[in-house]
């Protein structure tokens, strides 16, 4: 009798522990999902192992490391994860597997990892097959599995895509890392030329070579790039078509043709033009055919940025004396002022989620990135500290901003999440990097 009661008590105890255990785990997962914008869960520990080679004789072991490096860096850039140092790893990639039955999860929990990235790769000629896996270490189960087939040259993109999948699984929203950033840079010499890079900064390519001044790149939905260039003497608007490998001049009225931006559906472009005798926002077709004039005041009107529904434009105007951010409804009505703090607010960038407009504000003589709701409420400062911060551009998921900062001396590109967590430096090396434009997802 006593034994049966003790047994039932032990079973009840075991069930209670299991229930509490399950509750704790789901609470941890919910924490990551729900509070990406809050303080707290910013340091979710994840271990990223190097890929296991399924054909060791084929060499290219640096690819195993590269994949892990890119995933690690993307996860740290997200501001949510803390990547456990690879030197702490106990289990070795080549002597273990990538399935729940062939991984010693104890080796990973003991070094503090709550999640684990493992995978394998197999090269045949110029093609590779990658199997990437994300495991919950505590529950010892698979959370995400992806198999990729493609050219070895595209393996970097596979790593970025997998990092985006990890964010989708753990935060409920796809990560932004399978994308590119176009920017102006003097790294190749004294001239600002347009460059493009992937998020790991390992694939920087120079796109213009005209040795004049090239500025303000902006992506189109088909991957084409607008930019302003002085290559023919006047600041004209150009469009680069990657597929065709061509550059064509789109708008070349006398004076400024500046800050060209595609509408979200790609059917129109907005830019600042002096064709009416004063810098004004105008609309045109992507080939430059004029459509209409959006602003017609005596003031400076520059830097248009589209709302995600394509019905409104945020822009910068000094019609109130100094530069402030305004929103013009393209259907009708006068532009509405959006910024009321500070005497110098420029460079609006409307989030692809539509909820926030990022901009640059002068505070105590320095320039910082701010964000405000489209109705002008709830302005908050994103950057702080030393240096000047300019040119904000949103990630495709609307959670991160890339911007140019002089905090380390020369201007470099940094990424910060919109809650204002610590900014991570993206570019290094020579010259000044400015005017970044974050593309949409590459698929």
């Amino acid at each position: 009798m006593m034994q049966a009661r003790r047994f039932r008590a032990r079973v009840a105890m075991a069930i209670a522990v299991a229930l509490v255990g399950a509750g704790l785990v789901s609470e941890a997962a919910a924490q990551v999902r729900g509070t990406i914008f809050g303080p707290g869960v910013r340091q979710y520990p994840v271990a990223v192992a190097e890929l296991k080679s399924l054909a060791p004789a084929s060499g290219r072991s640096e690819l195993a490391t590269m994949f892990a490096d890119i995933v690690s860096r993307d996860l740290e850039l997200s501001g949510i994860f803390r990547v456990v140092p690879r030197s702490a790893h106990i289990e070795k990639a080549d002597s273990s597997g990538i399935t729940t039955g062939t991984i010693n999860f104890g080796d990973w929990s003991v070094i503090g990892a709550l999640a684990l990235v493992k995978g394998s790769y197999h090269i045949e000629g110029d093609r590779v097959r990658v199997e990437a896996r994300l495991f919950d270490v505590f529950q010892r189960r698979l959370l995400v599995g992806r198999n990729y087939h493609g050219k070895v040259a595209n393996m970097r993109r596979m790593a970025h895509r997998f990092a985006d999948e990890i964010l989708a699984q753990l935060t409920g929203e796809r990560g932004p890392f399978d994308s590119r950033i176009a920017f102006a840079s003097t790294r190749a010499g004294r001239f600002k030329e347009i460059h493009v890079m992937s998020l790991d900064g390992g694939d920087v390519r120079q796109l213009t070579f005209n040795q004049t001044i090239n500025l303000s790149p902006a992506w189109g939905p088909d991957g084409s790039l607008l930019f302003t260039s002085y290559q023919r003497g006047n600041p004209d608007l150009y469009r680069m078509d990657f597929q065709a490998g061509s550059v064509e001049r789109v708008a070349f009225g006398p004076g400024l043709n500046l800050g060209g931006e595609y509408s979200p559906d790609g059917s129109r472009i907005a830019y600042s033009s002096e064709e009416h005798g004063n810098p004004d926002i105008v609309l045109a077709k992507p080939d430059g055919t004029p459509i209409s004039r959006v602003t017609d005041s005596w003031a400076i009107d520059v830097s248009p940025s589209w709302s995600p529904d394509g019905k409104r434009l945020a822009f910068c105007s000094n019609r109130a004396g100094g530069p402030q951010i305004y929103i013009a409804d393209l259907g009708s009505g006068r532009p509405q002022r959006v910024t009321f703090s500070g005497d110098y607010n420029t460079s609006p960038a409307w989030s692809p989620k539509g909820d926030l407009i990022a901009y640059v504000s002068r505070v105590g003589g320095r320039f910082h990135i701010f964000a405000v709701k489209a109705d002008g409420s709830d302005a908050r400062q994103i950057t702080s500290g030393a240096g000047d911060n300019e040119d904000p551009s949103w990630s495709p998921d609307g959670r991160y901003l890339v911007f140019s900062s002089s905090r380390t001396g020369a201007k470099k590109l940094f990424v910060s999440d919109v809650t204002g967590g610590p900014a991570v430096q993206l570019t290094h090396g020579n010259g000044d990097d400015t005017s970044p434009a974050w593309s949409r997802w590459l698929d």
């Binding site: 004294r190 001239f191 600002k192 493009v196 390519r205 796109l207 213009t208 070579f209 005209n210 040795q211 004049t212 001044i213 500025l215 303000s216 002085y230 290559q231 023919r232 003497g233 006047n234 600041p235 680069m240 078509d241 990657f242 597929q243 065709a244 490998g245 061509s246 550059v247 006398p254 004076g255 400024l256 500046l258 800050g259 600042s272 002096e274 005798g277 004063n278 810098p279 400076i300 009107d301 520059v302 830097s303 910068c316 100094g322 530069p323 110098y344 420029t346 460079s347 640059v360 002068r362 320039f367 300019e390 040119d391 400015t434 005017s435």
Partner: protein
């Protein structure tokens, strides 16, 4: 007879070689990131104004700077603006009147008015501010009787400074409209 026939036969062969030249390989185009194939040399087009600030920058002559001013000013000297402003101030008017006098005495000369800013502030706003400074200068010269058709404007914003120090002494020299004469 024989010699003539040989010559007649070789002429078309020679011509065809001259006309077609050597075979060329198609230029590789990276399908993802195209280079600027087909761009012509800048100086062959409308072109960068000879002697202007961008031209000098390309030639490595930027920032030449002596005695507190841009050493590459000609008979028409720069005028300077207050911070964040495109107003033609009292201090500027004497220099503008002197420049207008010179232009009246040299009626064949056209002028490009370059608007510039100091490095503070954002790039696009400064390009627009430079444009307004150049336009304000042009309007003042026109009001003094100079024909508008002789005056063009261009802005370089903060892109082509004459000095690079982060202090007001340098900044004040960069907030300028620079006069580039053309077609003497």
């Amino acid at each position: 007879m024989f010699k003539w026939r040989l010559r007649a036969a070789t002429i078309p062969v020679l011509l065809s070689v001259l006309l077609t030249g050597c075979p060329r390989t198609p230029q590789d185009v990276d399908s993802e990131f195209g280079r600027e194939t087909g761009e012509t040399d800048v100086f062959a087009e409308e072109g960068v104004s000879p002697g202007g600030s961008l031209d000098r920058f390309r030639r490595g002559q930027e920032g030449t700077y002596q005695d507190g001013a841009d050493a590459n000013q000609g008979p028409l000297r720069d005028v300077y603006f207050a911070y964040d402003s495109f107003d033609v101030s009292e201090q500027m008017r004497d220099q503008l009147r002197a420049n207008a006098d010179w232009l009246r005495n040299n009626a064949n000369v056209r002028v490009e008015l370059e608007g510039h800013c100091d490095e503070r502030g954002t790039v696009e706003y400064n390009l627009a501010l430079g444009a307004k400074r150049a336009r304000a200068t042009k309007e003042y010269l026109v009001a003094l009787g100079i024909s508008a058709t002789r005056l063009t404007t261009i802005s370089y914003g903060e892109e082509l400074p004459v000095c690079y120090d982060a202090n007001e002494s340098c900044w004040s020299k960069n907030r300028r409209v620079h006069f580039v004469t053309r077609g003497e």
